[in-house]
Point group: C2
Chain length 438, copies 2
């Protein structure tokens, strides 16, 4: 069977551009009421019956029978054995990626994640204490989409933050374990791991069971059941973002080999038929050249069916008036991955306000960022880069304000506080401040 990848060809000069553009961008995470209800039932059941419920759901959904939860724990020696079993090339790649991810997140912690304080003129001490979470759970998808790189990207920032207890859950349908995933857990320093998944794994982490310890936060991607479960336990534990389909946007000035750009568009499209790959470029000839490379390269791709459907249904090659307009459109999209494939990327970078990660220059393929450049590959999707950030050390830290008011400070602050407290009708607040006045 021959596949065709035909992304929409749009031009901002077209009278219908706004309409076509809106249609192409439209995506909504429809909530499925049936899934919601099943997830609610599973959560309630695990909360009540603990391990027994988790074992039953694991048998039912993952076709994995176990006598007890202990049998579903992956011990450290099994993680190490998985690592040792890998070809040298894969061991080295995992370790090299882990090293770079670790050093990036250490820089991130140093730049933005340390405690701070100052004293004002009254001698009052003000600041914030930044501390790691005690215990976190990392959800790692299993089965056909098993990503060892996601283990590194979730566990390493937690480790760098100083989390003492990192619990991984990964479903292993029919008991089939992915050696790369287990090895990644070993390299990343996961403390405990269980072969459970779905809403039942999220429930076990959120409520705790006799065997699975209750965590403070759950991160990591998953299917619709996992996403729904995470949303439901939010508040009992912290969660990271709820991820939508992956996206790439390439801003091209026409100086990058078009086959590089075509392959970069493929690299998101191959994730998922719902993934979105968009090219913005002011050069019509270059856009045509990229489409020719898409046609030429597609038959070579093992995942060509997914790529063709993703590009045809959701992809777009958009001709813009100039690079400034391309940047403005990019800001409206707020893409997860944004490649600035230009000879002069630093000219455009200051114009780019919303993106999960910005890849500058022709050599910075998005895939380098996915695996080993250092920054996190867990990024905000579906336009949420307008208000949220890559997963980072800060997701595994929390802050406590520190206030020490001196006796002198209590005199001036006390008067202000009392006026405002009486204004709000909170006399206890006012009196507490006034009692400290001389």
């Amino acid at each position: 069977m021959e596949f065709v990848a035909a992304p929409a060809r749009l031009s901002t000069a077209d009278a219908l551009f706004e309409h076509d553009f809106a249609q192409r961008l439209h995506w909504s995470a429809d909530t499925d009421a049936a899934i919601e209800q099943r997830v609610a039932d599973i959560l309630a059941d695990v909360q009540q019956r603990g391990d027994a419920a988790v074992l039953e759901y694991t048998a039912r959904f993952d076709s994995l029978q176990a006598a007890d939860m202990a049998a579903l724990e992956l011990k450290q020696d099994e993680l190490k054995a998985a690592f040792d079993s890998l070809p040298a090339e894969q061991r080295e790649a995992l370790e090299s990626a882990a090293r770079r991810v670790r050093s990036y997140h250490e820089a991130q912690k140093k730049a933005n994640g340390e405690s701070w304080s100052y004293r004002d003129e009254d001698g009052t001490l003000l600041g914030q204490k930044v501390t790691p979470l005690d215990r976190v759970g990392i959800y790692v998808p299993g089965g056909k989409a098993a990503y060892p790189s996601s283990v590194l990207m979730n566990a390493i920032p937690a480790h760098v933050a100083g989390v003492q207890d990192i619990i991984m859950v990964v479903p292993t349908p029919k008991g089939e374990k992915n050696a790369l995933v287990l090895a990644a857990a070993y390299v990343a320093g996961v403390h405990r791991a269980f072969t459970i998944g779905g809403a039942q794994a999220v429930a076990a982490l959120a409520y705790g069971t006799a065997t699975v310890p209750k965590v403070d936060k759950i991160t990591g991607p998953g299917n619709a059941y996992v996403a729904s479960a995470k949303k439901r336990v939010f508040g009992i534990v912290g969660i990271d973002m709820i991820a939508g389909p992956s996206e790439i946007l390439v801003l091209a000035d026409g100086t990058t080999p078009p086959e590089w750009v075509a392959m970069d568009l493929f690299s998101q499209a191959e994730h998922d038929e719902l993934a979105q790959s968009i090219l913005l470029c002011p050069d019509a000839d270059y856009i045509a050249a990229v489409q020719r490379e898409i046609d030429r390269l597609l038959p070579e791709m093992p995942r060509q069916a997914i790529i063709a459907k993703s590009l045809t249904d959701r992809g777009a090659l958009i001709l813009t008036k100039d690079m400034e307009e391309a940047c403005a459109i990019s800001n409206r999209i707020a893409p997860e991955h944004l490649e600035v494939s230009s000879r002069d990327p630093h000219k455009w970078e200051p114009l780019l306000r919303h993106a999960g990660a910005i890849f500058l220059g022709a050599y910075t393929s998005e895939s380098l960022g996915d695996y080993c450049a250092g920054p996190n590959h867990v990024l905000p999707t579906s336009g949420t880069a307008r208000f949220s950030s890559p997963l980072g050390v800060y997701d595994f830290q929390k802050r406590s304000s520190i206030i020490e008011v001196s006796e002198a400070g209590a005199q001036t602050l006390g008067k202000t506080a009392a006026v405002l407290a009486y204004g709000e009708g909170l006399q206890g607040h006012a009196r507490a401040a006034e009692m400290r006045l001389k």
Copy 2:
């Protein structure tokens, strides 16, 4: 009517302590299915009909009729007029509080909120760009619980972050406006304000209407309808935390005048019958003295009915073995407000791992922090300080990773990425990396 405030008297030496302690702490935000459904309907209606729906709900729920949404906008000159109408004492208190809150959040931004980057040995540039959100919505409760201090605490960090468009919504049942709230909006630099509230205001901010601009994030406290609406629009926009009842925990070594501690316990109890005030102290005589002060001071309090019910139903005076044990119990509670009422607070502070804000020393009454010390008074409740943080400048910023791989860097990184990508079955990713190899 005479009220009695009888907090539970517990001792960690008691065999039943764990049971009694768990019972006292128990609180759950029961979701009310009826509220959930009504909120879902209101959101869908506002999403579809926009201004017309908001006007109808405002007429129905707030008894406020208006010809059009423009009539529900508070213009800048009205905010300024409210400020000018206040007694000098209140004007000065608002301005002084705003000044201190601003300078604290400026320090916070400088310490933890600036962009950063570095180059590695290959010349690869890595970092993060920190940018403000474009537009945020601040929900301010109206009616009986109208808190101008909350306007300052939400709007000022947004302002310091660099948000260009701060939209306030505040319900004004029957059209009654609170001059202090309007004046606080003026002082804090709110850009636009509408007298709407409830789920319909959250919907207007999340989806946008012809009159109310769509925002990127919604912060601020509200009733059960507002909380449910915020939780539902999470993902379309960002939200801050969902707040539970207010809490204070006082760790006392017995050196602070007991009436100060009694009044500090009142100052949370007076918020709400569900609020929780707890004292932890290793000195039984001191605990008895605090109870005597509670009995003595209660009749003087205008909100004595609420205080008595809150302390009796949810308060506790807990005798501990020593201060170390008191600190350990405090960590289990992870309180919103934590006072270390000790002659030597810096001895205990390092032992305190989970709290929204830590108030050190006898002069630092929690109420100073509520109004004017500088740190934010929007803090994680119900134990969520285990994984979340005070509202801050960081809530109004987001981060984009920056990656610029040099040609040399692409050679080493490309090989690692390709090995891992092939291992995950993502050939497009692998080929994109390999194309950059010489």
